[in-house]
């Protein structure tokens, strides 16, 4: 469904991604794990069109999207929950969600999507009139995911959804990701919380300084000695 071939992306003068090949199949949950600065976020930003690769090709459903503009990529069905959630702090919860549906025209669809998001995260419904910036970290993460779902994506890119959250909320977020995937949305997940991510994912890639060093199924990577040592703390 999504394929990255030989992607090199520079972040300023630094080559953050040095020739990555990744594939995500329809309906899969695939995770990218790796330490800080391994190039995980850069990879997601390249897929979303925010960063342009110096060379290589990104294709989605067989179509080359390497040079498609970010807002059109959303229109094609790829939605991202970026690192740090990036809630619009001075828009209300409701307005944040409406912005998520910006590429969708038609009020009917907007309503059903809103209902779905409020069903997934009832707390957002209670706080719909509150400013995004006043929510707690966990609520902001829920809002970020809800906002990304508002456009009815075929594929969801999640960048460190568990970062800085209490364990109980992390559990809830991971359950929701599973639910979203069960509903037919393909997921590409970037995580530092490698254990939880690999358990959830069908397949995974390990990134080290801009390159894919190991790949395999979630189970394989959980059992891999190197992965255990470097990322699972065993």
């Amino acid at each position: 469904m999504l394929r990255l071939e030989g992607i090199h992306t520079f972040y300023g003068p630094i080559e953050a991604v040095k020739g990555i090949d990744i594939e995500v199949g329809q309906g899969e949950i695939v995770c990218l794990i790796g330490s800080n600065g391994a190039g995980k976020s850069t990879t997601l930003m390249t897929i979303s069109g925010i960063l342009r690769p110096r060379s290589g090709r990104v294709s989605f459903e067989g179509r080359d999207i390497t040079n498609v503009s970010p807002h059109d990529i959303v229109g094609l069905g790829i939605s991202q929950v970026p690192e740090g959630r990036r809630i619009f702090p001075r828009l209300t919860v409701m307005e944040n969600l409406e912005m998520g549906a910006y590429s969708v025209v038609g009020n009917g669809q907007l309503k059903t999507r809103l209902e779905k998001v409020f069903e997934l995260f009832p707390v957002l419904g209670e706080r719909r009139k509150q400013l995004g910036g006043t929510l707690s970290g966990g609520e902001q993460q829920m809002l970020a995911i809800g906002r990304a779902l508002m456009c009815g994506p075929k594929m969801l890119l999640l960048d460190e959804p568990s970062l800085g959250l209490a364990p109980i909320i992390v559990g809830k977020i991971f359950r929701v990701i599973k639910e979203i995937n069960d509903a037919g949305v393909t997921v590409l997940l970037v995580e530092q919380n490698a254990h939880a991510a690999l358990k959830l994912s069908r397949r995974g890639y390990v990134l080290e300084s801009g390159r894919v060093t190991t790949q395999g199924t979630g189970q394989e990577l959980l059992g891999n000695e190197q992965v255990k040592k470097a990322y699972l703390g065993e």
Binding site: S48, G49, I50, S69, P70, H71, V74, G75, S79, Q80, P82, R86, F88, P89, R90, L91, E95, E98, M99, G100, Y102, S103, G133, L135, S136, G137, Q140, R147, A148, M150, C151, G164
Partner: protein, 300 residues
């Protein structure tokens, strides 16, 4: 006396507010002080004179004053919006990823270019706007209020209300606020950031055009240099209210108009232009982000 000065202050303040909105909206989105904005206002004033003169020469004015006035405003807004749009495309958009100083210098360049362009094509002497309403008006609470003042105050406040409704209720207005808060995230939700920026310039320039015509009518005189001082004052108003904040620009403009008018009559009219800056200094000492300015906080 006091009421008279308040009315005078509101008239000038409404105009300042309209210009200040253009500064603050562009700053909110691009963090760019659009120094060419005052020139758009000046162009609006000139276009007012030219268009109105044209309608007079073809006999429309004597047929229907209201219609020719409405057409003058509409066409002037259209032209100025086109100017604002074009300036952004030519002078700012290519510098979107350049260091912050570059678009600022580009803005100063556009400002100098437009001033000289108007000076060369329209001459360096004052142009006169026809005195339409004269000093016709009415007396209220001991103050003399002209119909022109009523018109200027009414139009300014209506436009401010319209803008407020636009940014809070419409899809594009909300997108403008989203872009101002986080451009990358805005494109990640599917907003075309470039077209939102264009719309911002179009709206800001349109408001400046209306302000230009109204000032031309109020003072009766226009020259190629009026954009400079009005631009500086409106910019002061925007900073006073908190640059980037739309209610701030509205408040700042009206506040500045009142200060000027009251200062001129109760202290000394010699220093009329200085009051604005004195107040700016005091307010920035107390509240560096301006009255409505927000210090952003991040939550983890």
């Amino acid at each position: 006396m006091l009421f008279q000065q308040i009315i005078n202050g509101l008239t000038v303040g409404g105009v300042y507010a309209l210009i200040a909105l253009g500064y603050t909206m562009v700053y909110g989105i691009l963090e760019l002080i659009n120094f060419a904005h005052g020139e758009i206002y000046m162009l609006g004033a000139y276009l007012g004179i030219i268009l109105f003169g044209f309608f007079t020469s073809v006999g429309l004015t004597s047929h229907s004053l209201a219609l020719s006035f409405a057409l003058t405003i509409a066409l002037s807004v259209l032209f100025c919006s086109a100017y604002g749009f074009t300036v952004e495309r030519i002078a700012y958009k290519p510098l979107r990823n350049a260091p912050r100083l570059s678009p600022l210098i580009s803005a100063i360049g556009v400002s100098i270019f437009l001033q000289n362009y108007v000076m060369l094509t329209q001459g360096a002497t004052d142009k006169v706007f026809p005195d339409l309403l004269g000093s016709a008006g009415f007396d209220l609470l001991g103050a003399r209020i002209t119909y022109l003042q009523v018109l200027i105050i009414g139009v300014s406040f209506l436009l401010m209300l319209a803008l407020h409704l636009y940014v809070t209720k419409t899809r594009m207005g909300k997108a403008m606020r989203a872009v101002a808060q986080d451009k990358v995230m805005a494109s990640l939700v599917g907003i075309n950031v470039d077209s939102v920026i264009s719309v911002t310039f179009i709206i800001g320039s349109g408001l400046a055009a209306v302000a230009g015509i109204m000032v031309a009518m109020y003072y009766g005189l226009v020259n190629y240099f009026i954009g400079y001082i009005a631009g500086i004052k409106a910019f002061t108003a925007a900073v006073l209210g908190g640059i980037g904040s739309i209610p701030g620009a509205m408040f700042g403009g009206i506040f500045l108009g009142l200060i000027e008018s009251l200062g001129a009559s109760y202290i000394s009219s010699e220093y009329k232009d200085a009051y604005a800056f004195a107040v700016l200094i005091v307010i920035l000492l107390i509240r560096p982000a301006g009255i409505f300015g927000k210090s952003t906080e991040e939550k983890v």
